[in-house]
Amino acid sequence: MTATIHIEHLHVVRGGRTVIEDLSLDVSPGRVTGLLGPSGCGKSTLMRAIVGVQVVAAGRVEVLGRAAGEPSLRHDVGYLTQSPSVYTDLTVTENLQYFAAVTGAPPGSVDEVLAQVALQDAAGQVVGSLSGGQRTRASLATTLVNRPTVLVLDEPTVGLDPILRADLWQSFHELTDAGATLLVSSHSMEEAAECDDLLLMREGAILSATTPDELRERTGEHDLSRAFLAVVRGAGA
């Protein structure tokens, strides 16, 4: 099966500094792939390159067999930015209505997606008055509203309580069951266990493309945070 996201020899320079150097990876269709690594390792930049909003110095980035950023992909790729990018002076519903109109989402999708992120009770509230976690979910809802087949989510579960986090991971797997492909970044290895596939990233490079079970087996560590450390030390040696 061909990869949903395919990257070859990607180089990205931001502010005169090489942020991503010679990075290649594949993301398999219909799976939740976790992009894990410490803050500042280039996860967001990599995601921006996949969505096609990042100026790229060299390399090839393909999504669904098309060059990243191609106009036709704008209907198929959903992007959640790391900091919530919603209009804080509009209500949750008004934000969703706008993004639904822009993406040509079908009527009724607004209510569906509100339920999906469990924000029905806050639907009429202005986003600026919401808590951080609610804002993240409002932003996520605007990303999901047109049901894109590829979802690039930059730290969607940061700042959420454990119950909500579990609910969201549940809904991510429901999305892949329905045929979507998800790339989800996190700096917390606790989240790794929730993913089907793992991409471990450090200092602008992919250290390892693996699965949670494979990672545990290879490193002999049951705890995935320790397993990540073992991989980092192994790469350094």
Binding site: V56, R74, Y79, T81, D89, L90, E94, T142
Partner: protein, 240 residues
């Protein structure tokens, strides 16, 4: 395009104080001017009438540059640039929303000025109102372009004195252009607001509008489109 216009208007509606300022400030300033020139009514008439059509220019410049800067810094612009929305429809949406706002502002300012403060519009207050909306769109287009050069709101507000004030000083509103130093007249001829003022001045003074009026309108529309095109060029799908 209408979705963006509706969204922008909803955002402004959420902010009643901004609306009150948009309407109250020009009305207040015009009234103030009337009584500042209490003993020189002709001077008030000379300055006040075109001013009704220039307020929307200034305010829309400021509002657009801040609004666009917010889109850039809040990440919503980056989001929109990854979605199937064309730059033309985003900018068109802003133009419709601010055009509506300018029309409301111009209607109220013109009513106060021409009906209550004794200003005269030889060719009709409606023409001044119409020119005001056109000038508002020019202000919007320039503000949009200027916002690309500001990183912070502090910088963006400084563009108002930097870009708007020289045009106001040189357009002929306070001193006839023919009375200015020679080089300044040349500079004034290069500013779009000079033509906006000239059109307003002709609309408020008796006598035929003539071909110069038509030329003024064409220059204002042309400058608006040029600034919009430049502004659109600053909206990048990919950023470093």
């Amino acid at each position: 395009m209408t979705a963006t216009a509706q969204r922008v208007l909803r955002q402004i509606r959420r902010d009643p104080r901004t609306i009150a300022l948009l309407i109250g400030v020009p009305v207040g300033l015009l009234t103030l001017l009337r009584y500042v020139f209490d003993s020189q009514v002709t001077t008030f008439e000379h300055i006040g009438a075109p001013m009704c059509g220039l307020f929307p220019f200034t305010l829309m410049f400021l509002i657009t540059s801040i609004a666009m800067l917010r889109e850039r810094t809040s990440g919503t612009l980056e989001r929109l640039m990854s979605l199937p929305i064309s730059k033309a429809s985003l900018l068109g949406g802003y133009a419709i929303a601010f055009g509506v706002l300018a029309a409301v502002q111009a209607a109220i300012v013109c009513t106060v000025g021409f009906a209550w403060l004794g200003l005269n519009a030889a060719h009709g207050a409606w023409l001044v109102g119409l020119l005001a909306v056109g000038n508002a769109l020019l202000g919007m287009a320039l503000g949009l372009f200027a916002s690309a050069f500001a990183r912070t709101e502090f910088q963006a507000v400084q563009f108002m004195p930097a870009i708007v004030f020289p045009q106001l000083l040189l357009c002929g509103l306070f001193v006839p252009r023919s009375a200015m130093a020679g080089p300044l007249q040349v500079v004034a001829d290069a500013f779009p607001l000079t033509y906006a003022f000239d059109a307003l001045s002709r609309a408020t003074h008796p006598g035929p509008l003539g071909r110069t009026f038509a030329l003024d309108v064409v220059v204002v529309i042309g400058s608006t489109l040029a600034a919009l095109a430049l502004g659109a060029a600053t909206l990048r799908r990919r950023t470093p």
